[in-house]
């Protein structure tokens, strides 16, 4: 079936709710109205008001409630309406969700998913544009997954729902509807923790994820560069091996992401390449990222996140020396 990313989210939820009646979907405006992006459309109609629930406006209760429900044996898939509204629940991630298994030495666990649209570029208000995966992936015990294609979205969300541990599932809302591709019908799972090589190449390795994938591929195309393009997909756990092997081959690397540069995921990738492939590097790794500022309000937000020329500039810098 042909689907966009947001349709793939919806399809994964339909499929998994149909397969496993422990899966419960909740969040603000997800039931009656089907979600502000319609990601949860028709779930209420199909699965009823016990399994598809509108919650009060309370992110702490949504994330902490999901952890409790998961401990009890259900498979909650909670929605945070925009990534800018996850910070109120940061403590529930750090203090509870990520630690249930660890704290009880495996006696209990929290198989839960928190999904949320992230990123700038849809002309929304302040706080609707954040990409703070750098902070979330720093939390031990929390998995962070970011798909970039409709098929992966379905496959990774499915894997996240089935995963025995908590997953933060960040959906690239700027490209929610801009890509349409064939998505497998029925069950479809893509393993967490495995990067995808989107394009093989010899001269430079380019790592990106989520909404940075289309501009990254465009930059490579545009520049006519023989780049190996890796879609990281899982931020945590990270598929270090795929990245490192590629860099060993190319000797050059660029990381493109939307979040702030300092302590962004790009820094961690640089650090891991340093650990395992430093002596293969022929040039500094280029980080093409959002700036160390909040995302500007909508009139200037386009300046904030990397576009193909900026990514290409990074690639050329990596190729230069």
């Amino acid at each position: 079936m042909q689907a966009t990313i947001v349709q793939a989210v919806n399809d994964a939820l339909h499929t998994e709710m149909g397969r496993d009646d422990r899966v419960v979907v909740f969040g603000e405006d997800v039931a009656e109205s089907g979600g502000v992006f319609r990601a949860t459309d028709e779930l209420l109609e199909e699965f009823g008001s016990k399994r598809v629930v509108d919650t009060p406006l309370s992110e702490i209760a949504i994330v902490g409630g999901a952890a409790g429900m998961a401990m009890y044996g259900y498979r909650p898939v909670a929605e945070i309406q925009f990534s800018g509204f996850l910070p109120p629940a940061f403590d529930q991630l750090v203090t509870n969700a990520s630690r249930i298994r660890w704290r009880t030495r495996g006696e209990l666990s929290a198989p839960m998913v928190v999904r949320m649209p992230y990123g700038a570029g849809v002309r929304a208000l302040e706080h609707h544009s954040e990409s703070l995966e750098g902070a979330y992936a720093h939390i031990p015990g929390l998995q962070v997954v970011v798909p970039s294609t409709p098929a992966d979205t379905k496959g990774l969300l499915t894997a996240a729902i089935r995963d025995p541990d908590p997953v933060l599932f960040m959906e690239p809302k700027r490209i929610y509807r801009s890509i349409r591709e064939e998505v497998p019908e029925g069950e479809h799972e893509v393993p967490i923790g495995e990067a995808a090589v989107r394009r093989e190449g010899e001269d430079v390795t380019v790592v990106a994820w989520g909404s940075m994938m289309p501009p990254t591929l465009e930059a490579v195309e545009e520049g006519g560069v023989d780049a190996e393009v890796i879609d990281l997909r899982s931020i945590s756990p990270m598929d270090t091996e795929t990245v490192v092997e590629s860099v060993k081959k190319t000797g050059r690397c660029v990381v493109a992401h939307e979040g702030p540069r300092t302590l962004g995921v790009g820094s961690e990738i640089v650090a891991r390449i340093n650990d395992e492939a430093l002596m293969y590097l022929e040039a500094p790794i280029e980080r093409v990222t959002g700036f160390d500022t909040p995302v500007p309000l909508l009139s200037m937000e386009d300046f904030y996140f990397p576009h193909p020329p900026r990514i290409l500039d990074g690639i050329e810098a990596a190729l230069a020396d």
């Binding site: 405006d29 109120p88 700036f291």
Partner: protein, 389 residues
């Protein structure tokens, strides 16, 4: 402890139930009156009318109409693509104007769904258009009038408590006011902010517009509490519940509340109102509420009700409604034209306002970016500099 002054805190509570059945404290035992001055049918008791002069009565009307016209115009330009998004306040005019009319320039104000109060405090329609177009100068202008708009729901309540705390330290003759929605009451931030004000006795005024919905979520499911006013009991704060379609009642309630607050007691006001339009221009309310319900509330139009009052008072003749609307439309036209004049801003704006002094890493990022924009003008193929939101 009921005796908060006793030296040794109260002994283990003495049974005032004579060892009988377990007795529950229940909201069903609570009677929460709703303050109203002008009834839906337009009738009122002369003696209850607030002590305002004619010009003030007329001002209330003009501001309510301003609010309505402004919402209409904003929805309109949004549809034309000249605005990112907008949250209309139609239906809430009495609630918004009646409350903001009581505030003084030294008061601080943090709002959710309430835009005209900014105009009442000196900001311009242009500033508000800029805000909704995602141009930082909007908030800058509001700040000049001790006002801000908070987007993250509930997040401003601790700020308002902190501002009130500052006033308390200062012995300022002013109040810190937070507007919040019914949905906001569910947030931990609101809880902690209001509790802080209650526990320290800060001059904070909490004005909650219960417009029945948080996007699609009806208030009945937002909380088990029948009224929002009763939530104030959790903080030991006194509360007023008021008919939010009755501008005089709202004014009267908030005026009274503001006075108490200046005496050092926070007050919580629940204003029962209704959002007639969509949550924002991106929302489709037909997915979650019936036409019948909306029509029902259309029939309780706050401007209409106040018009009845003005007629009864013989003040209506002093108003040329069409002229008022025309004037506001003209003001809006001018504001829009001025907003449209906005120049593209320097990219450095993204960086320079974050710290008092630009730190080295940020300076480096800015320099790199400026250089890139110069070297790669094709960047502008991807950048929509959106002075119109």
């Amino acid at each position: 402890m009921s005796d908060r002054e006793s030296d040794i805190r109260a002994p283990p509570a003495t049974g005032d139930d004579g060892g009988g059945e377990v007795r529950y404290l229940s909201q069903s035992d609570l009677s929460v009156p709703t303050h109203q001055i002008v009834a839906p049918d337009g009738s009122y008791d002369e003696r209850a009318v607030p002590d305002l002069d004619d010009e003030e009565f007329l001002d209330l009307y003009r501001w309510m109409v301003t609010d309505r016209v402004f919402s209409r115009r904003m929805v309109n330009i949004q549809r034309r693509g000249e605005l990112g998004t907008f949250g209309s306040t139609r239906g809430q005019e009495a609630s918004i104007i009646g409350s903001a009319f009581t505030l003084r320039p030294d008061d601080w104000l943090y709002v959710g769904r309430a835009w005209t109060p900014m105009f009442m405090r000196g900001a311009s329609m242009k500033d508000m258009i800029l805000f909704w177009r995602g141009i930082e100068e909007g908030q800058e202008a509001f700040a000049k009038h001790n006002s801000q708009i908070a987007i993250s729901i509930g997040s401003h309540l601790p700020l308002v408590a902190g501002i009130a705390w500052g006033m308390h330290l200062d012995d300022a003759d002013a109040v810190a006011t937070a507007y919040l929605g019914d949905g906001a009451t569910s947030t931990g931030a609101a809880h902690e902010g209001i509790n802080l004000a209650g526990s320290l006795g800060l001059p904070a005024l909490f004005f909650c517009q219960n417009n029945q919905y948080a996007i699609s979520m009806p208030y009945e499911r937002q909380s088990g509490a029948n009224t929002i006013a009763q939530k104030a009991l959790a903080y030991g704060i006194d509360a007023i519940r008021v008919d939010g379609q009755d501008v005089l009642a709202v004014y009267d309630a908030v005026q009274s509340a503001r006075e108490r607050v200046t005496e050092g007691e926070p007050v919580f006001v629940e204003s029962v109102t209704y959002r007639l339009d969509a949550h924002t221009t991106s929302d489709d309310p037909t997915r979650y509420r019936s036409d019948e319900e909306v029509e029902h509330w259309e029939a309780h139009d706050p401007i209409e009700r106040y018009r009845q009052f003005l007629k009864s008072e013989g003040l209506w003749s002093e108003i040329d409604h069409d002229a008022v609307v025309e004037e506001i439309d003209a003001e809006f036209d001018e504001a829009l034209a001025a907003a449209n004049e906005m120049e593209e801003r320097a990219v450095s704006e993204m960086f320079t306002y974050l710290y008092d002094e630009l730190p080295p890493e940020l300076a480096r990022q800015l320099a790199e970016f400026e250089d890139l924009l110069e070297r790669r003008p094709e960047m502008y193929d991807y950048i929509e500099h959106r002075p119109k939101g």
